[in-house]
């Protein structure tokens, strides 16, 4: 009985300590998206390159694709840009840019100077599409399956490591299931 009196608080304290310790290494800025596993919000927006030519999410159905949210005002976007170029060079999936609350001219200059990794760039001047996608801090990168379901979301600059570990296997898996259905 005396032993229990010491062991129980000790165990409780250890458990609490373990929770707090793990908490130290978790990033509070990372907010898991409730949209993963749900249909991607549809959008039809003017294209950055040609405002007369709208970009519609419906046209992308039937293949896996990536949506990358960026802006010229966003430091992390500059940081990941070379990685995006390298990924685009793989030609694994189309990368669609969502130019979030940006200046049209600045965004076009950015792509002209740094290179354009995007198959197409949709211009979200008002930021409403970004809100529909639950975006809170650029850069954010979504992976969308051929059926239009959001498979994964990466918040923070894209790296080759994340691409190889989180995106590529999911793209292959999505292709495999889509292939077996048809």
């Amino acid at each position: 009985m005396l032993k229990l009196k010491f062991i129980v608080p000790l165990l409780l304290f250890t458990a609490l300590g373990a929770f707090l310790f793990v908490g130290l290494y978790r990033d509070p800025r990372y907010v898991p998206s409730p949209l993963i596993g749900k249909p991607a919000p549809e959008f039809t927006l003017p294209s950055l390159q040609d405002a007369n030519y709208p970009v519609s999410s419906k046209e992308l159905l039937g293949q896996p694709w990536v949506l990358n949210v960026w802006g010229t005002w966003c430091g992390g976007c500059r940081q990941e840009h070379d990685t995006l170029l390298a990924i685009a060079a793989q030609r694994a999936v189309p990368i669609v840019g969502l130019n979030w609350k940006d200046d049209n001219v600045a965004a076009q200059q950015w792509l002209a100077q740094l290179g354009n990794p995007y198959a197409v760039v949709a211009e979200d001047r008002e930021g409403r599409t970004a809100i529909n996608w639950g975006v809170y801090g650029a850069p954010e990168t979504f992976l969308i399956g051929p059926d239009g379901i959001i498979l994964y979301k990466h918040i923070a600059p894209m790296t080759m490591e994340v691409w190889n570990k989180e995106f590529l296997p999911r793209i292959e898996a999505a292709r495999a299931t889509a292939g077996s259905k048809s």
Partner: protein, 146 residues
């Protein structure tokens, strides 16, 4: 610090603090009822880029955009619950400053009641044991004398 200086500082802080509440440059609604609803909802929604602020407190671009969404939804006749659901669908429960009770966080909600119950049981047992012990002590010397 003199008493007057301190009083002056308090008055200044109150004045500045009062202004900080009205972050929009102008009222969103002419109707005071709608304006009140608008402000109340804003105070319940977290600005996700500046996580320890509500969208009523923050002037981050995202907070401005979310306030615009709230304003538009109120204007479109949406209820408070519908507006909250709109935000939760996109940003998850973390967007709420007053979290809902869900299966995942039920234990957290129940924890205060549970802890209080445990404390009551422990207290009851300790008090009862002490009472028994003091009875024995009181009886002790008499038993020794006889």
């Amino acid at each position: 610090m003199s008493r007057y200086l301190r009083a002056g500082l308090v008055a200044l802080l109150l004045a500045v603090g009062g202004q900080a509440l009205a972050i929009d440059t102008e009222a969103a609604f002419d109707d005071p009822v709608l304006q009140h609803r608008y402000e109340a909802i804003n105070r319940e929604l977290r600005c996700l880029v500046c996580q320890n602020q509500t969208i009523a407190d923050s002037n981050a671009t995202l907070a401005q955009d979310l306030r615009r969404e709230v304003r538009d939804m109120i204007a479109a006749g949406k209820t408070d619950d519908e507006i909250r659901d709109f935000m939760i669908e996109r940003y998850g429960d973390f967007v709420l400053y007053r979290p809902r009770m869900t299966a995942q966080n039920f234990l957290l909600w129940a924890a205060p009641a549970l802890l209080l119950l445990i404390a009551a049981v422990v207290l009851f047992r300790v008090v009862r044991r002490r009472a028994q012990e003091s009875d024995i002590e009181a009886d002790g010397p008499e038993a020794g004398q006889s």
